[in-house]
C-alpha cells in the first residue's frame, strides 16, 4: 500500500515494515556489479595519469575481487550481536562507498 509498508489490522499498529535480514542472491549480484563499476571509475581516473589526494585515497580501497563476502554484504554496527548488520539496512547504500570496516570487526 505505502511502498515498503504492508497493511495489517488497525487494532494492532496498522502498518508493518518487513525487511529480510540478509540479501538475496540477486541483490548480492547487483551489489557486486556496482562495486565493479566504481572500480572501473577509479581505474579510469588512475589511467588518466593525474595525481591528487582523492585518487591516493581511492586506490587504498579494496577492489571487488579483493573484498571478502562479509565486507560486500554486511557493515559494522556497534549495536548488534556480532557487530555486523546487513549492508542493505544503510540508507542510500547503493550510492555510498562502504568498503572498509573497523579493524577486527
Amino acid at each position: 500500500m505505502f511502498g515498503a509498508f504492508r497493511p495489517s489490522p488497525i487494532s494492532s499498529v496498522g502498518l508493518l515494515w518487513k525487511t529480510p535480514w540478509k540479501l538475496s542472491p540477486t541483490r548480492k549480484a547487483n551489489a557486486r556489479a556496482r562495486l565493479k563499476r566504481v572500480d572501473s571509475v577509479i581505474e579510469a581516473v588512475r589511467a588518466s595519469g593525474v595525481q591528487c589526494a582523492a585518487l591516493t585515497q581511492a586506490l587504498e580501497l579494496p577492489k571487488e575481487h579483493e573484498m571478502p563476502p562479509k565486507d560486500k554484504y554486511t557493515v559494522f554496527t556497534p549495536h548488534a550481536r556480532g557487530y555486523r548488520k546487513g549492508i542493505h539496512k544503510v540508507p542510500k547504500w547503493t550510492r555510498l562507498t562502504l568498503r572498509t570496516n573497523p579493524r577486527g570487526f
Binding site: R34, R37, V38, S40, V41, I42, A44, V45, A47, S48, G49, V50, Q51, C52, A53, A54, L55, Q57, A58, P91, K92, T94, R95, L96, T97
Partner: protein, 135 residues
C-alpha cells in the same frame, strides 16, 4: 501581384529551410567520420563523464559537485580535461558516474551531441525546379 509575391516568399523560405537541413546532415557525416579513425592513436586528454545514478537525497556537497561538473540530469554526458581538479570531482561522485578517457577530437558539446542523436534523413536535397529556372 500580391499573390505572386506571397508565393515567392513562401518558396524562398522553404528553399532556405532545405539548405539548412542539407548543411546539418553533411556536418553530421563529417563528425561521424572523425572519431572512428583517430580514437586509437590520439592521446587521451579528456574525461567523458556520464551520470548513471541521481544525487537525490545525497549530501549537498555531492549535488554541488555534479553542478560544478555541469551535469543536470541522469544519463547526461559531459566532457572535461584531465587535471587534478576534475579528477577530484569525479572521485567525489564515483558511485554515481561512469568515466571513459577520450581524445580531444572525440569531445562533443551539448549541441553536437544532440545533432549526432538525430537519424539520417535518408535523402540529400540536390536542388529544386525553381533553382534550375533561376539559372
Amino acid at each position: 501581384m500580391s499573390s505572386t509575391l506571397i508565393r515567392s516568399s513562401f518558396m524562398n523560405h522553404s528553399r532556405a529551410f532545405c539548405l539548412k537541413r542539407q548543411i546539418s546532415t553533411s556536418r553530421v557525416a563529417s563528425l561521424e567520420a572523425g572519431p572512428s579513425s583517430s580514437s586509437t592513436s590520439a592521446p587521451k586528454t579528456h574525461y567523458k563523464i556520464t551520470l548513471q545514478r541521481s544525487a537525490i537525497a545525497l549530501p549537498s556537497r555531492v549535488k554541488a559537485t555534479l553542478e560544478s561538473l555541469g551535469i543536470h540530469r541522469r544519463l547526461q554526458t559531459v566532457y572535461h580535461e584531465h587535471n587534478p581538479i576534475n579528477a577530484g570531482k569525479i572521485l567525489r561522485v564515483k558511485e554515481l558516474v561512469t568515466v571513459e578517457n577520450v581524445s580531444a577530437d572525440e569531445v562533443r558539446t551539448k549541441t553536437e551531441q544532440r545533432r549526432e542523436r538525430r537519424p539520417s534523413r535518408g535523402f540529400v536535397v540536390k536542388g529544386s525546379k525553381l533553382s534550375q529556372e533561376a539559372l
